[in-house]
Each structure stands twice: as C-alpha cells, then as structure tokens.
C-alpha cells in the first residue's frame, strides 16, 4: 500500500482495570501527527454512541477507514461497522488497535500503545513488527529454590546435558515436600518419592548445589545474566564433613527445629534431617554460644576431621554467569496465630497442619505417634513420644484462606491434605473420632473426589460450617460452629485441633521480584506471561517460574510446571538464543521497521 489511506481514529477509554496505565492524551497527540489521519475522536466524550451519528462524522471527514484504539476495542466494532456500511464503505475497514496486552509493561505501556496504533493506521499486523530482540544465550541455568519444583526442573535440564546451579536458602534441598508424611490422593510416602530425586540431584555431574545462600543482585540481559549470590557462613567445611554427628551430640545449645516445624528441638550445629542433601552439618549462628560471646568451641574439639569446623568463617559473595533463571521459591504457611479465634499459640493442642504432618511422620519427633504437646523442663512446648494419645481430633479448613482479613484466595491444597490427615489419624488411632469442618469441599482433580468418598466411608465426621471459635476447658477444646446442612449449632469437645493453614508467598518474594524484574499479583504470587497458555514464562525474557511461587497448587501440578519450565529453558538453549522482553522495544525502532516495510 503506497497510497495514504485516509483514516479516522477513535479512542476508547474505559473505566476498567487498565486504562489508568496509559497516557491517553499523549496517545491522542501522537495519533494526530500520523500521516493520513484525518481526525482523532474520543468516543467516550460523545453523548450517544449511535451508528447514525458516527456515520455523519465519517461522511464529513471523508474517511476510508476507522481505527478503534483502546482496551478491548472489539466491543465497539459493531457500531462502527454499522456506521461504515451506512456511508457505503466496507465493514472490513474497521481496524482494531488493542492495547490490552501491553498494559502490564510498567512505564512502557503508552509507548507500545502508540506503536500498536501506528501499525493499525498503516495496515500492518502488530505481531509482524513488534518482535522483541533475540539474544545469544549462555547455556548455564540458575534454579532458585531447592524444593520439589527446583529439584524437578534441575534434573530435567541436567539430564538434558546442561549445567544447572541449584540455589537453596536453607542448609538442604528438599523444601516443604520433605516434611510431609504422605501425598494425596495416592497416599504415597512423600520421602520415598522425594529422597531418590534429592540424591540424584546431589550426585548429578551437571548440577551444582549452592545451599545456605540467596540472590543479592541480578545484572545483564536475557541470555546473559550475572547473578551475585550471598553465601551465608556455614562454618562447617562442606567438602570434608563426614556427617558423623559427634559435634551435634556434644553441642550444648538447642533451638526449635525448623524442619520439624518447631515441634521439637535441634542443636545449634545440626543437620535438618538424616536424608539431607548435601548431608553436611551447619552451624546456626543465631543460637551458637561461640558466635555470641566467643566461648565454647566444643564442636571443634570433638570433630574427628581436622579443620572441618571453622567457627570464624565469614559470609561470602560469589558471582555466576547464567543464561536462564528458573524461579521456584515456593511458599510459606499462614501464621495461624494471626487468626486469634482459634487460639493457636495459646492452647498447646491447637496445631497447624504442618506441625501435625511432622508428628504423624514416622521420622518425626514422636516416631509417628500422635501425642499431646507438653512443656519440657526448660519451658519449651514440644511433642514427645509418651505424652498420651488424643481420642478425638478436629480439623478446621480454610484457616487464613478465603478470608477477607487474611488471604482472599483459596489455597487449593488444604481440603485434600485435610482429608489425608483425617485418614492418617484413623490409620494410627482406629477408635479416634475425627471431625472435619469445611466451608466448601474442593476435591478437584484426578482421583480426588474418589479420595473424598473414601475418607467419608472411613467414618470421619465431615461437617459443613466454619468453626467460629475455640475455647479450652480443662484439657478439652470446645469448638463452636454451625452445622449448616443440619441447621444446628454444635459445640464439639475434642482433644486436639488441627488448623489447615493456607499458603502464602514467601516474605522475600517481593524483593526477589524487584531483583529479577518480575511482577507479582495483589497477593504476592509471581505473574506468569499468560495464565491460560503460558504459565511458566514471564514478561522478562529468560526468566521462568515454576511451582508454588506462581500460585497455590499441589505437588503433581508443581512437578508438571517445573518440567514445563525446564522444557522452555532447554528450548532456548537448543535454539541458541532467547527472545528478549517486549519491554526492550522502542517506538522509534518500530517506526523505522514500519518505514522499511512500506
């Protein structure tokens, strides 16, 4: 098309979610100066949007084509097509310039909107011009987070023959899944699935595990990132430690065990759990007497390996160069003490589901016996093997989820893991009464509804109604709730309460998002490029997301997403290049490209 087509541009400014992200005045000003544009019309200022009125305007200007520009302009196409037909023009000459998908580009949205508008006026498909740059890619990959998502993604890439750095904040990989007893709905032993994978990661020649570290700085462009990693002092030489445990035996200091979700105590020099990878000890500087006041050093004296423990080790920073990054930082569980009506932290036998997951685990503090929480001599509330068995247990769903005061979203996994816990209780204590209080039972997915039916068949009392409050009377806990399906108020007396806590983004996810240039949604989960068709990529080329950090999901979904993320990384590596972000495009670049095409 060499000749200039006379065009009228109509801008549509809606009151929707995205309009405020665009500078409409600037766009209109720009549109006015495009060659061939006769008139720019703000149709939101028209009193009536009738085809008749619009056809009058079109006839006056003598336009051959209309461009409707704005958020979801297709909604208005009918009126304009009608108007065009009225003046004897073709309805095909109504062209849309949709800004919607560029709204998310912070700061760049107006510029991209102008580019889209220009494409529409010139009659060019935006997708043929708005192509981000391709960058050459470094073959190495950084996976942030050593949970099941990180492990799966690392293994996929490493098995494809590429180098992977697996970064983990704690002393061992494994994440939350290592803490679980069973997985739903198959009731597989979680450790039996996970630990072989952990060992494989630990021994893989292509995987370098960097534990006890976090990301401090990310520089460079897609395909070529330089990542600064802060390594906290482990104070135990990871290469020479033989994991004998003599140091922990003699260590005089204790602290709540993070791995056992604080249901028991560990030493200041510790290993999270016997299957940890790397299976090396580390010193918790916050609880070490030597770090506090320079006196002690018992561990150094008893360690059979010379120079293995260096109590004066300092934090270090390393830099690695990678081409792709997979973010798999996972989640944290909701802090149940925030929901004060349940008395968590006040009544010793109100537990979170993660705590219960540990005490019912055969490798947990009670060897898998369900017992009461008791106070030890030093005043710590912990679980021991011989503190008695509860006869009745209540499980409360939706703690911290689906609640305007905490998190509005559904955490997706709680219904199913609560059913699983109910089953495990019944398995361990046959005569125990188990009560489940739910709002809505969400048994989606393959085999889940069947699992729900199975648990109902096991004699678990499943009650529709949210527990309003818990009070302690003697050793008993009294739950007050409405049994909605029976239309009765019930006050149930139980020995133990499990709070099915929801999932939340980790504290530093916002920080990480700003380091990596990712966006988070209102709840703090990382935004994906497209929820329906591209859940693993982000708008920042070269960075993928996997697992819980993108939004609540169960283990099978996490693993699937991690594999998908790895596939994306391998795809880039095989192609040898990575598409940059659309953010890197400039209007001038697009203008020049269009000029070349004309």
């Amino acid at each position: 098309m060499k000749s200039i087509v006379k065009t009228v541009i109509c801008t549509v400014k809606t009151d929707g979610d995205y309009s405020h992200l665009f500078d409409y005045e600037d766009i209109v000003h720009y549109a006015d100066h495009i060659e061939g544009v006769l008139k720019v019309l703000d149709i939101s200022k028209l009193p009536v949007k009738s085809p008749l009125q619009l056809s009058e305007i079109l006839r006056e200007t003598g336009a051959d084509r209309i461009v409707i520009a704005g958020i979801h302009p297709g909604m208005h196409k009918g009126i304009f097509a009608n108007a065009m037909l009225r003046i004897g023009k073709k309805a095909e000459d109504v062209i849309l310039a949709d800004f919607t998908e560029y709204a998310i580009l912070n700061g760049k949205s107006t510029e991209m909107a102008k580019a889209v508008l220009l494409c529409a006026v010139k009659g060019i498909e935006p997708s043929s011009v708005l192509i981000p740059n391709e960058y050459e890619i470094m073959p190495d990959t950084l996976v942030i987070g050593g949970g099941i998502a990180g492990i799966q993604a690392s293994l996929e890439i490493a098995n494809g023959g590429q180098k992977v750095y697996l970064l983990e904040r704690t002393g061992t990989i494994g994440g939350h899944m290592a803490m679980f007893d069973k997985t739903f709905p198959t009731l597989d032993c979680a450790a039996c699935i996970l630990t072989p994978k952990m060992v494989e990661v630990g021994q893989h020649p292509n995987i370098e595990i960097i534990t006890y570290s976090d990301v401090r700085k990310v520089e460079g462009s897609p395909g070529n990132y330089t990542v600064t990693i802060h390594k906290k002092a482990r104070r135990v030489d990871i290469n020479t430690c033989i994991g004998c445990g003599t140091c922990a035996e003699k260590c005089p200091r204790t602290a709540p065990s993070e791995f056992d979700s604080k249901t028991t105590l560990r030493k200041a020099i510790y290993i999270s759990f016997p299957q940890a990878v790397p299976n090396k000890y580390l010193i918790d500087a916050d609880h070490c007497t030597y770090v506090e006041n320079g006196k002690c050093g018992v561990c150094v004296k008893v360690c059979p390996v010379p120079d293995c423990i260096n109590l004066d080790e300092k934090d270090t920073e390393i830099k690695i160069k990678v081409g792709s990054i997979i973010v798999a930082t996972g989640f944290k569980v909701f802090d149940a003490s925030r929901a004060t009506q349940f008395g968590y932290g006040k009544y010793p036998n109100v537990l979170t589901s993660l705590e219960f997951e540990r005490i019912i685990n055969a490798s947990g503090p009670t060897d898998g016996n369900i017992t009461f929480r008791t106070q030890d001599k030093k005043g710590n509330w912990i679980f021991t093997k011989d503190s008695g068995e509860p006869e009745s247990i209540a499980i409360i769903h939706c703690v911290g989820s689906r609640d305007e005061h905490f998190n509005k979203y559904c955490s997706k996994v709680c219904c199913m893991y609560s059913l699983k816990l109910a089953h495990l209780v019944k398995e361990k204590i046959h005569h125990a009464d188990v009560y489940e209080y739910f709002i809505d039972m969400r048994a989606f997915g393959k085999g889940y509804e069947e699992f729900y039916e199975r648990i109902k068949g096991e004699g678990v009392h499943i009650i529709r109604g949210r527990t309003a409050k818990i009070e302690q009377k003697g050793n008993k806990l009294i739950l007050r709730s409405e049994d909605i399906l029976n239309e009765k108020i019930i006050e149930q007396e139980v020995d133990m309460v499990i709070l099915s806590v929801g999932l939340e983004p980790t504290e530093d996810s916002k920080n990480l998002a700003s380091l990596l240039g990712l966006q988070t949604d209102n709840s703090g989960w990382f935004n994906e490029a497209n929820y329906t068709i591209d859940q693993v990529n982000t708008y920042t080329g070269g960075i993928s997301i996997a697992g819980l950090c993108q939004g609540p999901k169960d283990i099978p979904d996490t693993v699937a997403q991690a594999s998908a993320a790895a596939a994306r990384v391998l795809q880039r590596i095989i192609r040898g290049s990575v598409k940059g972000s659309i953010k890197d495009l400039s209007l001038r670049f697009v203008e020049e490209k269009i000029k070349a095409l004309m």
């Binding site: 609640d403 109604g465 309003a468 108020i489």
Partner: protein, 397 residues
C-alpha cells in the same frame, strides 16, 4: 409449603439500609456460630441472609430473628467475607417495622426524607398552633412577670396560660398526654397483632400449644424491663448503657404522663425529694447515653455504630433536644423566669410530641414493643418446636 421468590426484594431492602454487602456471603456459618444469642431453630444471622439472597419475602416477614439480635457486631467483625451480617439484621428490623405497620407511614418515613422531616415539622407546627390558639401566654406575663412567681421564688407554671388558669392548664396537658399515649398504644398494639399474624399464624410449619401463651407471658415483662438476652452478648457495656437509657426514659414517661398532676405542680420541692431525684437520675441517664452514643456514632469505629441511618441520628437528635429543653424549662422555672419558662415549655413539647408520635409507632423507637414481643413469640415457637419434635419421636418409636 411453597415460598415465592421475589427478585425485587433486594432493591426494596436497599432503601432501608446503607449497605448490601450480604451479597458476598458464602454461607460458612461463622456469624451464627460466633453469636452468643443464636439457638437451634433460631440460626441467625446466616439464615436471614439466605432468605434475603433468595428473595423469600414470606420467610423474612415471618422471621423474628432480627428482633432477637442486639447488634453487638461480633458477626460482622469476624465475617470472612466482610458481608456485614449485623448491619443486615439492623436493615431487616427497619424493613419489618414497615411491614408490621398497617398505615404505610413507617415505610414512607424510612424511605423518604421528605416524609420524615415533613411529618416532624407538621406535628411540631400543630403543637405550636394549639398553644397559640388555646393556651396563649397570659397577657401580663410580659408586663408583670412578678405576678407569676410564688413565694419560693419559682415560676408558677400552671398559671402561665391566659385562657385556662390554675389547675386547668395541667389537666389539659394531661389530657393531651393521654390522647397521645392512646394513639401510640393503639398503633403499637395493632402492629403487634400484625406481627403475631405474620410470624406465628402464617408460619405454617408450627402449631403453638395453647398453654404456652400463658406460661411464657412472663417473658414479656422480664424482657421489657431488663433485656436479659442482651446481657448474654459479649460486650456487656452495651447492655448496661442500654439499660441506663431505658430505665431513664421509662421513669420520664411515668413522670410526664402517668404522674403529671403530681409532677407539674406549683410547689418547688427540695432537691432531695424523691420526685426530683428520679427526675435528675432520668435526665442524667438520657444525657449520658445520648452523648456516649453520639460520640460512638460520630467516630464510627465499632461495627454496631459504624453505619448510621438517618433515622438513627434523628432519634438521637430529637431525644437530645427534648432532654435539653426539659432541663432548660426546669432551670428557668427555678430561676423565676416566667416568659422563658413558658416559651421553652412550648418548644419542649413541639419536639417531644413529634418524637413520640413518629419514632415510637413508626420508626426506630418501636423496638421497645417489638423486641419483648419477639422474644415472647420466639418462646411460643420454641414451645411449638419442642412439642412437634416430641410428637415425631413418639411416632418414630
């Protein structure tokens, strides 16, 4: 029994309340479980929300639950959806008041500012006009104010009027009092009969055992006098405050209607006289509560005082003005200011009369009658449920 769904009910209810957040309710049952007053068969507020969401008008009008709620606000505070069930109960009380009222005025007063203020001004004007025509001030009130002061130095209140001097003045006011009381009582009693019809007769699910009408009657007096149900709410201060207000205006009512000839007399009794003590207690109670509630409503921090309907404010303002003008009449009288006493007396009645005629039968104050009757009726329903369940058990056995 089939119930008709009325989709327009939601729009209609909007006129009676400020908020329609109850749309967000997902029926978790938290509000019902947290409420200390809810009982089996009276599972509010969730069931009321359900009825409103479904548009079951008949179920709402036959429901007594809104009257059993004292609005401590705990349900709204803990609601996981912020659906504000407490405020819905408040809205339903306004709606039910308009449904019980057969004159249709209540609905007009609640939904239209024009009607509400118009009626108040209209009645106030009538009061002033009646004074101007039938009880104008004595001619020498202005010229020789000393003539109206007795040997104690106080104003001779019953001699202020020109047309009817002496005891006639007080008996005319008393006659007016009783007329007003009879109008209000007639309206309330007929409305309560409608409430009875709607909630007991038209509730086809129950059949009240005859004996319980008598055996439960004590609930009426007991609940009217002390609101023992209110005391079950976790926020005890609300109950005590309410009791203070209620006892105050009950005393005031007794003094100014039943005992008026003994109260409005020429002799100024010493301050420790029981009449004066009671009067001071009642005045203090009213003032204290009104100031307290005004501050709360103005701050709008707690749930129960967060959302103030125009009728809530109007009630406080009118009761407050009545109290203040009453105090002024008292002090002008003791201070020996006959003119001020007379005009303040007229103003006092011009506020008091519309307040009683509008607030008591048609608006917020009607709950003084509906609440105890609702408790009574709910006891009847309970007796019916009890009997029915025992019959069912017998049949099953």
């Amino acid at each position: 029994m089939r119930y008709k769904v009325e989709p327009d009910l939601k729009q209609d209810l909007k006129k009676f309340g400020i908020h329609d957040e109850w749309k967000d309710c997902f029926h978790c049952g938290n509000c019902t479980a947290i409420c200390p007053l809810t009982e089996n068969n009276f599972l509010f507020p969730r069931k009321a929300i359900r009825n409103v969401q479904m548009g079951l008008k008949d179920k709402i009008t036959s429901n007594l639950d809104p009257w059993l709620c004292y609005y401590c606000g705990e349900c709204s505070e803990t609601c996981p959806r912020d659906a504000n069930p407490g405020e819905l109960m408040m809205t339903l009380r306004r709606y039910l008041t308009s449904k019980y009222d057969w004159t249709g005025l209540s609905r007009k007063f609640y939904t239209s500012h024009f009607w509400e203020f118009g009626a108040i001004i209209f009645i106030a004007a009538i009061v002033v006009a009646l004074f101007a025509i039938f009880l104008p001030p004595a001619a020498d009130l202005m010229l020789n104010p000393k003539n109206f002061i007795n040997e104690q130095g106080g104003v001779m209140i019953n001699n202020l009027s020109a047309t009817f001097g002496g005891d006639n003045f007080v008996s005319i006011i008393e006659w007016g009092d009783w007329t007003m009381a009879i109008i209000v009582a007639t309206l309330l009693i007929t409305n309560i009969l409608r409430m009875f019809y709607k909630s007991i007769i038209k509730d086809y699910t129950i059949k009240v055992p005859f004996g319980s009408y008598f055996s439960e009657a004590w609930q009426l007096v007991w609940n009217f006098a002390l609101q023992p149900k209110f005391s079950k709410c976790d926020k005890k201060s609300y109950w005590i405050g309410h009791l203070l207000l209620m006892s105050s205006y009950s005393i005031m009512f007794a003094i100014i209607v039943v005992l008026l000839p003994k109260f409005q007399i020429e002799e100024i009794k010493p301050w420790y006289n029981w009449q004066r003590i009671l009067g001071y207690y009642a005045t203090f109670g009213l003032l204290f509560f009104l100031i307290y509630v005004s501050i709360k409503r103005f701050q709008a921090k707690e749930v129960s005082t967060k959302y103030s309907h125009i009728t809530d404010w109007l009630f406080i303002i009118m009761l407050g003005l009545t109290t203040i003008t009453g105090i002024l009449v008292h002090f002008f009288r003791i201070g020996g200011l006959p003119g001020a006493t007379y005009y303040m007396y007229v103003i006092h009645l011009a506020i008091l009369v519309p307040m009683i005629l509008i607030e008591v039968p048609f608006s917020k104050w009607s709950h003084l009658a509906y609440r105890p009757f609702a408790v009574y009726f709910s006891q009847l329903k309970k007796a019916a449920y009890k009997k029915q369940s025992s019959v069912k058990i017998a049949v099953a056995a």
